[in-house]
């Protein structure tokens, strides 16, 4: 039995590198309907130390980049005429890990404080 993996990429830039975002927690939404894609939050890198920061809802999460022990590949299964082959879409070598307790963002602060 053979599994065909197509390593060639159409684009000339070669296989892109992706990253995993790992959160210790759940992303939840107040809205019931989950049809369309929604903006979850904004991820940035601090300029000074290249640390990732994720603003999620009214929370701000500080994370870090971790190099994966085993690099992973993201395959795409392609079934053409009863023949299954896989296409490598991306390579994952690192993950962005947010495991610390999030800090709340206080808004609506009274001026008189």
């Amino acid at each position: 039995m053979q599994i065909y993996v197509n390593c060639k990429n159409e684009s000339e830039g070669g296989i892109p590198e992706w990253a995993i975002v790992e959160l210790q927690g759940l992303i939840q939404t107040k809205k019931q309907e989950n049809s369309s894609a929604t903006v979850v939050g904004d991820m940035h890198y601090f300029n000074r130390n290249r640390h990732p920061v994720l603003v999620l809802g009214h929370h701000i999460l500080n994370g870090k980049e971790v190099k994966l022990e085993h690099p992973m590949a993201v395959f795409e299964k392609i079934v053409i005429e009863d023949r299954t082959s896989y296409k490598v879409r991306a390579v994952v070598k690192k993950k962005i890990l947010f495991k610390s307790r999030p800090k709340p963002i206080i808004s609506n602060v009274s001026d008189k404080v």
Binding site: M1, I3, E22, L23, Q24, G25, L26, I27, Q28, T29, K30, K31, T38, V39, V40, G41, V55, L56, G57, H58, H59, L61, K77, T84, K99, R101, P102, I105, I106, S107, N108, V109, D111, K112
Partner: protein, 877 residues
């Protein structure tokens, strides 16, 4: 235990005691003789002595002259010491009793006054008076210390014993300030004594057998001693003795007991303490505590039938387990107590040595503050002396602990009761590992109260006179001092169990260069009497018992005891139970005396004028003479006066609280409250209800309930729930007026508990009603009410309002303050211009986005367990 004397020895000791006690009995009959002034006793007894009476029956001639002169006779005691000091001369002439009184025969005999041969009796008396006067003048003339006695002597026959020329007999020349020389005749002691012995013809009916017997013995003793003195005179002056007296060693120290058998204190006492010391062996010397073999124990019990004390000790012994879990005795401290001088300190030191300890003494002369005491305790109980060659463990002896301050005693108790510290943390105090012996005189000193609870109390009684006199004779034997058995017994009786005082007196007598000690020496010595201070109870006991030997003893005891008020209390408490006759005359008289005492003492207290204070003991002594009897009574300690005082205070407090708690309208007079209201109030407070359920009560009953509640409110009474000792809750009237109104018979009047509860509820309602009434009273003035009078009030009030007359302060009520709503805040810029609100709020749109975002994050604490899914190969194909 091996250090104890063996049973046989001990038996001997105890038995000897008993025998001695029996012998003692007759000696105890005449303690008053010992205490009496020597000369009067001798005189009166000399005359009655049947032994001395026989040899010279014819010498006494003139009784009346003697009685005339009796006042002067009291001067004669001064003669005795003088004559002993003077050089002894051969008796030139025998002096007899009648010589003393200047009889006719004597004057006839005198060659210097031949003219007085024929005179009538009256003339004789006149002559005698003249001579006495002349003698007094002579006495004045001879301004010397010895002049008094010499002068006196000249008063009876100055012509014979004094001369202005140089006489033929032995003399002592004396010259006065004017240059007049007088020659005084010297006499030997023997002639004086023999003259005393002669004057024994008179039989006095008043003298008792005991005193006669005593006198006879005394005379016999004197004669015997004189004979002995003749024999021993050569061997008497030993050079070694004087150095001893002048040496620095007190006899008390020198003749201190050296071994266990030398101890004078009671055998059970010694044993109890030694046994306790041996209980420490386990922890101090790491050896097992020996227990008595049963065989030995039976021998003890055999004898226990005879000796109560032995029995007691044995009983204590049988109370087996005396060690606690640390191997120390239960009682960490032995508390020795007893009167001064009986040898407590000596006992403690000796037994500590016997048990193998090094005694470390701490007494009143050392500093005894808590800190100093802690140091001493630490050094004595935790450390060990380096200098001592034998390296014995210490035994701390705390002398005179009753004088120590209370914190010190408390520290000691804490020290003793500290147990082995548990846990790894090292405690500051270590458990006591050395015996401590505390010594005190007064076991019941207030500061000793905490110590008494944790200590083994050993009472050291006074040494029995028999043993003491035996010891005194031993001491005298060692000191080459002759002490007659009688004198020793008298000395012992005088010391009343105080060994130290007795031995000190002995050495004092010895220091006066006496080779032998006679009864007179013992009687005349001013020192060595036991301090006659007695405790209150002892004083009371002696007040209520007849003292045949010394009628004045009661007065002395009372004066010594000092606390007259408490003694009076004691008499008052006991006088009805002691001596009473059918008509209560004794009791009446005693109570009248007590009344006098009360009046006097309260006068003294009120005026702080102590001029009549001296009369108080006399009054008490009078009571004593009225009450004293031979039947022994158990004197009760006077508690009642204090008890009553306490009760009075309590009741007064109750009355006061009722007075202050009741409304002024119902009572304002304390006496009226006390006499008229309070005794009847309980009846008012007991309404007649058939059932406790108010709903079921009739109208009448309800009314009486209301009346009760009203009365309670008026007098400020209320029922309070109190927890009784058996765990139930009971309604108790507060303040407890039942105590004032009744004498313990309140149960009849007190309503049953259920009704009490109903009354309590009604009373609380009544309080609420009254408060409401009070509260509504003020608004009624200002506002409308239903009554026409109130409308009138309203009119006047409205008119007064128009005039805006301010209300009096007590009618004013607080009005709630209106809350002012503040205007919305206006933002102003630096120049004071008002910033529009929208501009202000525009500053935080971001925050709005954040807070309005529908997505939020829910952080999950703990370990992040990633989800794994199984992937099959066929799914991949």
């Amino acid at each position: 235990m091996s250090d104890y004397p063996d049973p046989e020895e001990e038996y001997e000791l105890m038995y000897a005691d008993e025998l001695e006690m029996l012998n003692e009995d007759e000696e105890h009959n005449e303690p008053n003789i010992i205490k009496k002034k020597p000369l009067p006793a001798k005189r009166s007894l000399d005359f009655s002595s049947p032994i001395a009476k026989k040899p010279i029956p014819s010498k006494i001639t003139s009784q009346p002259t003697e009685t005339n002169l009796t006042p002067d006779i009291s001067l004669t005691p001064n003669l005795q010491p003088l004559e002993t000091i003077e050089a002894i001369q051969p008796p030139s002439s025998k002096r007899t009793a009648e010589e003393l009184f200047g009889d006719i025969d004597d004057i006839d005999f005198n060659e210097q006054l031949p003219s007085k041969k024929q005179k009538t009796e009256e003339e004789n008396d006149l002559d005698l008076i003249e001579k006495i006067l002349e003698g007094r003048r002579l006495k004045q003339m001879l301004l010397e210390p010895t002049g008094r006695s010499l002068g006196f002597r000249s008063s009876y026959n100055a012509k014979e014993n004094l001369s202005l020329d140089i006489p033929r007999w032995a003399f002592l020349p004396l010259t006065n300030a004017d240059g007049d020389r007088v020659y005084v005749k010297l006499e030997s002691e023997e002639s004086w004594d023999s003259s005393l012995d002669m004057t024994t013809d008179q039989i006095s009916l008043q003298s008792t057998y005991a005193s006669t017997w005593d006198e006879a013995r005394k005379i016999l003793e004197i004669k015997q001693e004189r004979q002995l003195g003749l024999v021993d005179d050569l061997s008497q002056p030993l050079p070694g003795i004087n150095t001893d007296i002048n040496g620095n060693v007190l006899w008390v120290e020198k003749y201190k007991p050296k071994s266990y058998v030398d101890l004078l204190s009671d055998e059970p006492v010694n044993r109890a303490l030694l046994h306790w010391l041996h209980l420490w062996d386990k922890i101090v010397f790491k050896k097992e505590v020996k227990t008595l073999e049963p065989q030995q124990r039976t021998t003890f019990s055999k004898r226990a039938g005879q000796f109560q004390l032995t029995n007691k000790w044995r009983g204590k012994k049988e109370a087996e387990v005396e060690l606690d879990e640390d191997g120390r005795p239960h009682h960490k401290v032995a508390l020795l107590c007893g009167p001064p001088g009986v040898g407590k300190t000596t006992l403690a030191h000796l037994l500590a040595k016997v048990a193998g300890y090094r005694p470390v003494e701490l007494n009143a002369s050392d500093e005894r503050s808590a800190d100093a005491f802690r140091n001493a305790l630490q050094s004595a109980t935790l450390m060990r002396s380096v200098l001592d060659a034998e390296q014995r463990p210490n035994c701390l002896i705390l002398d005179e602990i009753d004088g120590a301050p209370l914190p010190t005693v408390e520290l000691l108790v804490r020290w003793c009761t500290a147990t082995v510290p548990e846990g790894k943390k090292k405690a500051k105090t270590q458990p006591l590992k050395r015996p401590i012996i505390a010594i005190c005189n007064d076991l019941y000193a207030p500061s000793l109260r905490p110590l008494r609870a944790v200590s083994l109390t050993v009472l050291v009684g006074g040494v029995s006179p028999a043993r003491l006199s035996l010891r005194l004779q031993q001491v005298c034997g060692a000191e080459r001092l002759r002490l007659a058995a009688r004198a020793a017994a008298a000395l012992a009786a005088r010391a009343a169990g105080d060994v130290r005082a007795a031995i000190l007196l002995l050495s004092f007598l010895k220091a006066r260069d006496k080779a032998q000690i006679t009864m007179e020496d013992v009687e005349n010595a001013a020192i060595g009497t036991k301090d006659c201070h007695k405790s209150l109870l002892q004083a009371l006991q002696s007040i209520f018992t007849t003292n045949d030997s010394d009628p004045g003893a009661a007065l002395k005891t009372i004066q010594a005891a000092g606390e007259y008020d408490r003694l009076a209390d004691g008499i008052f408490e006991n006088y009805l139970s002691s001596r009473s006759d059918g008509r209560l005359r004794v009791s009446c008289e005693v109570s009248s005396w007590l009344q006098l005492h009360d009046a006097l003492s309260s006068w003294v207290q009120r005026h702080q004028n102590y001029s009549v204070y001296a009369a108080l003991p006399l009054v008490l002594a009078r009571c004593s003479t009225l009450l004293a009897s031979r039947t022994p009574i158990r004197v009760k300690f006077p508690f009642q006066a204090q008890e009553m005082y306490r009760k009075k205070l309590e009741l007064e407090g109750i009355v006061q609280s009722v007075l202050s708690g009741s409304t002024p309208s119902v009572c304002n007079n304390r006496n009226a409250l006390l006499l008229d209201v309070l005794p009847l109030l309980p009846y008012l407070l007991a309404p007649n209800l058939r059932t406790a359920n108010v709903q079921l009560c009739s109208e009448n009953e309800r009314k009486s309930l209301r009346a009760t509640a009203g009365a309670m409110c008026d007098y400020g009474l209320q029922y309070v729930q109190q927890r009784t000792p058996d765990g139930l809750y009971a309604f108790v009237l507060e303040p407890p007026i039942y105590k004032v109104a009744f004498y313990g018979t309140e149960e009849k009047v007190r309503p049953p508990p259920a009704i009490r509860q109903a009354i309590s509820r009604e009373q609380q309602l009544e309080v609420i009603r009254r408060n409401e009434e009070m509260a509504s009273r003020v608004p009624n003035k200002g506002k409308a009410s239903d009554t026409p009078k109130a409308t009138v009030d309203k009119k006047t009030a409205s008119t007064s309002k128009d005039k805006e007359v301010p209300l009096p302060n007590h009618l004013q009520r607080l009005q709630p303050k209106a809350v002012v709503r503040s205007a919305p805040q206006v933002h102003k810029d630096f120049f004071g211009r008002i910033v529009p609100l929208s501009q202000v709020q525009r500053n935080d749109p971001v925050a709005d986005v954040i807070s309005s975002s529908s997505v939020f994050y829910q952080y999950q604490e703990g370990f992040n367990n990633a989800v794994r899914r199984n992937v099959r190969v066929r799914d991949l194909l």
